[in-house]
């Protein structure tokens, strides 16, 4: 992942504008600039979790308590979170926006592959491809979680749009970042 993706400061501004009160997650190299900003934020409470599945349960509890949560995790952690996401936010119909940083998207692009490529055993074991990127969007689709893909700085509007969609449809909605936050 490179540093030409969304600016962390612009992303934070979108969270502020949407009234996000709590952010749950675990940083990776892509989301670290946002976590750094959030760790010093006066109004948005950052909750670093031990394992990504917790983020969905905590976020659902925050929503029950009247807060406006957001989850930020890497796509590897998303895959780990399956039942936690299903059994809390999805099952409750909680309006939960999720920012998913996309490990492996750059490799996928260099290999000439698109996110929707048909999966098979040969592709999932290829050393020049990170299988988590191949599995991210099919997994979200299988779990019934709508998603959009943000690839560059011009896509910052998708942060607010994802939050709005989650609230309007009362369900988790994901924004997959294919490049690192800068």
């Amino acid at each position: 992942m490179t540093g030409s993706g969304l600016q962390a400061s612009a992303c934070l501004a979108a969270l502020e504008a949407a009234g996000i009160t709590h952010v749950m997650g675990i940083p990776d190299n892509s989301s670290a600039p946002l976590f750094d900003l959030l760790s010093e934020h006066a109004d948005i409470e950052l909750v670093t979790v031990s394992r990504e599945g917790e983020a969905f349960a905590i976020a659902s509890g925050v929503w029950i308590g009247g807060g406006r949560p957001l989850v930020v995790i890497q796509n590897t952690g998303l895959l780990e979170s399956g039942d936690a996401l299903r059994g809390t936010a999805v099952r409750m119909g909680a309006p939960l926006p999720v920012i998913v940083t996309g490990r492996g998207y750059a490799k996928m692009e260099r290999a000439g592959l698109e996110p929707g490529v048909e999966l098979d055993a040969e592709l999932l074991t290829r050393p020049d491809v990170d299988s988590v990127a191949l599995l991210t969007e099919p997994t979200l689709a299988a779990w019934g979680v709508p998603f959009a893909r943000a690839s560059g700085r011009d896509d910052v509007g998708l942060v607010g749009a994802t939050i709005e969609q989650a609230r309007a449809e009362e369900r988790p909605v994901a924004l997959v970042l294919t490049q690192a936050l800068s």
């Binding site: 909750v47 670093t48 905590i58 029950i64 308590g65 059994g87 809390t88």
Partner: protein
């Protein structure tokens, strides 16, 4: 200590706390309480009652949140002990109701075969107030102090094996808070808060 000896004194002292139950405490708690502030983590995500309760506590720092977690549930997400302490939430009271097995499925042993010291784990994770009870009388006598202790509070309560079977939601459920869907139950608690 029986399940009743654990739950009845708590129900008598409970005022405006949120109570989150899961697994073997879901139906028994419903026999002692019928409050809008009760929430069953049932038809939900297994092992995630404590972190769900943490979320409620974080959103409502003015309100104490009690989670009646199971030993098997706690083992599934031991990292949540660290998350709770790290979050800074002081209004969470976390029970591990230790019946020594997977009661819902017939008392099969847990992965630790009874060897884990939950009070020791929570103390090592940084909980400022940690308690262990295996006798109903001792528990009832100490409960006022336990509920007033500096949070987050951790209580390892060893109870006798019960006979709770699989839990389902629906209009015929014995416990009132199981008669609505998880989604409606979440919204009901949200409105009550």
């Amino acid at each position: 200590m029986t399940s009743g000896e654990l739950l009845a004194p708590l129900a008598r002292r409970r005022t405006d706390e949120v109570v989150v139950t899961t697994m073997s405490t879901v139906r028994p708690w419903g026999r002692y309480s019928d409050s809008d502030l009760d929430f069953a983590s049932a038809d939900s995500a297994m092992g995630h009652a404590a972190d769900l309760a943490l979320g409620i506590a974080l959103a409502r720092p003015d309100r104490r949140v009690i989670c009646l977690n199971g030993d098997g549930s706690m083992l599934m997400t031991l990292g949540t002990l660290a998350t709770i302490v790290g979050s800074g939430a002081r209004n969470l009271i976390l029970y591990v109701v230790d019946n020594g097995g997977f009661e819902i499925t017939g008392h099969q042993p847990l992965a630790d075969h009874g060897r884990v010291d939950y009070a020791g784990l929570s103390r090592a994770a940084g909980f400022p107030s940690v308690y262990f009870f295996d006798h109903g009388g001792d528990y009832a006598e100490a409960l006022d102090d336990v509920l007033a202790a500096e949070g987050p509070v951790f209580i390892h309560a060893v109870v006798q094996r019960g006979g709770e079977g699989p839990i389902s939601r629906g209009p015929e459920a014995e416990a009132a808070y199981l008669r609505t869907s998880l989604a409606e139950s979440a919204r009901s608690l949200r409105r009550a808060l």
